[in-house]
């Protein structure tokens, strides 16, 4: 049985460039021993899907501070079409309540709001990774 650490892609899709959150989270996860693939902002959805496939990540973390989460359902569909529905997607940032419901219905595993503890984000990624690997084992 492998015990390699979770591999997580931290990215931003859409139009916004504010990356304080994604950088802080990525550096924390890396220091916590995870394998982190980090992209600059403004990624296209197909580019994220391609990267997730090539890097075989367990979890994708999408940071959204300026409504870019509204296109996360498109990302979910594209992942499904690429046969990557087993990759868990989490969203962090400024997400209004109604949008959180919409994201969870679209298959997002968890939404983290401002004020979330980095430890909690890491724990959730660990849990989602174990679940994915258990299914794929």
């Amino acid at each position: 049985m492998t015990t390699h650490p979770p591999k997580v892609l931290i990215t931003k899709i859409g139009l916004d460039g504010h990356d304080r959150g994604s950088r802080v989270v990525a550096s924390f996860l890396r220091d916590a021993g995870m394998e982190v693939v980090y992209t600059p902002p403004w990624q296209d959805i197909p580019a994220v899907v391609k990267l997730a496939l090539e890097e075989d990540v367990d979890v994708i973390g999408v940071s959204s501070l300026a409504t870019d989460h509204l296109i996360v359902p498109k990302l979910m569909r594209s992942l499904g079409e690429a046969g990557l529905a087993d990759i868990a997607v989490i969203v962090g940032g400024i997400v209004p309540d109604a949008d959180e419901t919409m994201l969870l219905e679209a298959g997002v595993a968890k939404v983290f709001h401002p004020g979330s503890a980095l430890e909690d984000i890491a724990a959730e990624i660990g849990r989602l990774t174990s679940a994915r690997r258990a299914v794929n084992a």
Partner: protein
């Protein structure tokens, strides 16, 4: 009679200071040092021992160098700050309705926040439709700008365009003024976001053109505005982006001043005289909730800028020495938890900015940590300013904290911190070179991480987040504004029709002229951006031409 004042002292030798120290030490159990966000240890008490500066040389009177106490003799007594609320949502008609409403409520200056698609240099038909108008107004053409500014007297209203290089929003506004017969030399306002370096290092938000191209367009823009728009401020140097991204207040002030030096040097290299461009430099800062630190940051910044303009650039005109700034209360300090607490935070931030001597102020709405603010939230934000000015009387006395032992010592300490970071940037070859090397980006990333760790360890309290939490139901938060999808669809349809109805040859000629100007360093690119906007070219078309000619900028990211 003649009872000694020090009757309570242990011995005749103990001074008042020693007695206080002894009693303080006895009274404070486990007193650990208190450090502000910029890393300065703050003492429990300041006395005349802590500041022995020279009043004339270090403080001076308001309106006199080194401007520590304010850049104008009359400061807020003479002219209160401008209430410049940032607004932008939905279509141009949505924006216009909100704008006229804000003006009726007391907002004295226009600001225009475009949709993120505009910030990124695209037209509405080039991006995901879901994202249109959710964070700003979707304005791509001169027709849209006319709709945005309907009913606004352009000759009498100061307009801030959140308009990064190549400044198409200003170009669209100039085209609007021309159509209305308003003389360009009557237009006043600011090209906010002209500081491309801050975009590069901090929010990766607004640049669309490679660093070298953005550098040239900015200098072209400053030259054009100095020639044709005598009341317009083409240069806004932005500390807000770096501080929001995580820089400490001292670092953020240092990066801003270093960037201003870079821009001034670029203008000088172009052959412009310092007193021709420096009076049109303005600054834009974040105001955190760290009250005294922010006040000291602004006082120190004013003093440093007065020195730089006079000594380094040899400016002779006092208008060149004045550090004019707009402040925005910090959104990063706001919390999603118990959002009404944000009203208290914004109030403290606004007090810091006002006592710090700002010229114009945006107060965040309490619900900005949830999404774009509601009208209800925006009204409280405007009224916070009205209360501070007219109920709390913050404008009665100029620099009321001047002379406080603490404030003066802290101003000196902040100045020292700021100068140390500026020296690092200078050693890297100036701000442009430092950004290319990733130096400010690394420092900002480290400071952001360190602040987050202080919050998580509890060293820095954030009410409702790591202390004083309560259970909150989702239902307690009100619904947020979103653009009306039907209106946005007809906006897109009208845009398509607009493009089809234009003179194709005029558009092509303007685009060719723009491309030729970009290829020829002797021409002024911004002049051609203005011509293209008048000829009916869209924002996205202008940006696409310049991206093609000058290259696309990629963020330099470090984790």
């Amino acid at each position: 009679m003649n009872k000694p004042l020090d009757a309570g002292r242990l011995s005749a030798q103990e001074t008042g200071a020693e007695q206080w120290q002894r009693e303080f030490t006895a009274g404070v159990v486990g007193g650990k040092p208190t450090r502000n966000r910029s890393g300065i240890d703050v003492k429990p008490l300041y006395t005349p021992e802590d500041w022995q500066g020279d009043y004339g040389a270090d403080l001076g009177y308001p309106g006199q160098p080194p401007y520590t106490r304010g850049i104008y003799a009359s400061m807020h007594r003479g002219r209160t700050w401008s209430q410049r609320q940032l607004i932008g949502l939905g279509t141009p008609t949505d924006y216009n309705a909100r704008l006229l409403d804000m003006i009726a409520q007391g907002t004295t200056a226009v600001s225009l926040i475009p949709c993120n698609s505009v910030f990124r240099g695209y037209d509405m038909d080039e991006v995901h439709a879901e994202l249109l108008g959710t964070c700003g107004v979707v304005a791509n053409t001169v027709e849209h700008m006319e709709q945005c500014l309907a009913g606004v007297d352009l000759a009498r209203t100061s307009c801030a365009m959140n308009d990064p290089s190549p400044f198409t929003l200003l170009a669209l506004m100039l085209a609007t003024a021309k159509k209305r017969g308003v003389d360009w030399n009557k237009l006043s306002g600011t090209s906010n976001q002209s500081d491309y370096l801050s975009h590069y290092v901090a929010n990766h938000m607004f640049f669309r053109i490679a660093l070298t191209g953005a550098r040239r367009i900015l200098t072209d823009h400053i030259e054009f505005c100095n020639r044709h728009l005598p009341r317009w401020n083409p240069m806004s140097v932005v500390g807000q982006h770096t501080q929001q991204a995580g820089a400490t207040p001292a670092e953020s002030m240092a990066f801003t001043l270093s960037a201003a030096i870079q821009y001034a040097e670029d203008c000088r290299e172009r052959g412009m005289a310092p007193d021709a461009y420096l009076p049109r430099f303005t600054f834009f800062f974040d105001i955190s909730v760290s009250l005294f630190e922010e006040i000291a940051k602004f006082r120190a910044g004013r003093r440093i800028w007065a020195r730089i303009t006079r000594e380094r650039f040899g400016a002779r005109d006092p208008r060149s020495w004045r550090f004019k700034f707009h402040g925005q209360t910090s959104g990063v300090d706001l919390t999603r938890q118990q959002p009404l607490n944000n009203i208290a935070r914004v109030t403290v931030q606004a007090i810091a900015g006002i006592l710090g001597g700002l010229q114009s102020l945006h107060t965040d709405a309490y619900d900005e940590a949830l999404s774009c603010p509601t009208e209800f939230g925006a009204r409280i934000a405007v009224n916070t300013q009205n209360i501070l000015r007219e109920e709390a009387h913050l404008t009665d006395v100029i620099d009321p904290l001047g002379g406080s032992y603490y404030i003066e010592a802290l101003t000196d300490a902040m100045e020292e911190k700021i100068l140390a970071v500026m020296a690092q940037v200078e050693a890297a070859g100036g701000m442009y070179a430092a950004v290319e090397q990733g130096l400010p980006q690394k420092m900002i990333g480290a400071s952001a991480r360190s602040f987050q760790e202080k919050v998580e360890s509890g060293e820095q309290t954030v009410v409702g987040v790591n202390a004083y939490q309560v259970e909150e139901g989702r239902g307690e938060r009100q619904a947020l504004p979103t653009p009306d999808p039907a209106k946005m669809r007809s906006h897109i349809a009208a845009f398509t029709a607009y493009k089809a109805a234009r003179s194709a040859s005029a558009v092509q000629a303007a685009q060719d002229g723009l491309a030729a100007a970009a290829a020829d360093p002797k021409q002024n690119i911004f002049e051609h951006v203005v011509e293209a906007a008048s000829a009916g070219c869209t924002h996205g078309e202008i940006c696409a031409t310049l991206r093609r000619e000058l290259g696309f900028g990629q963020p330099l990211v470090t984790v």
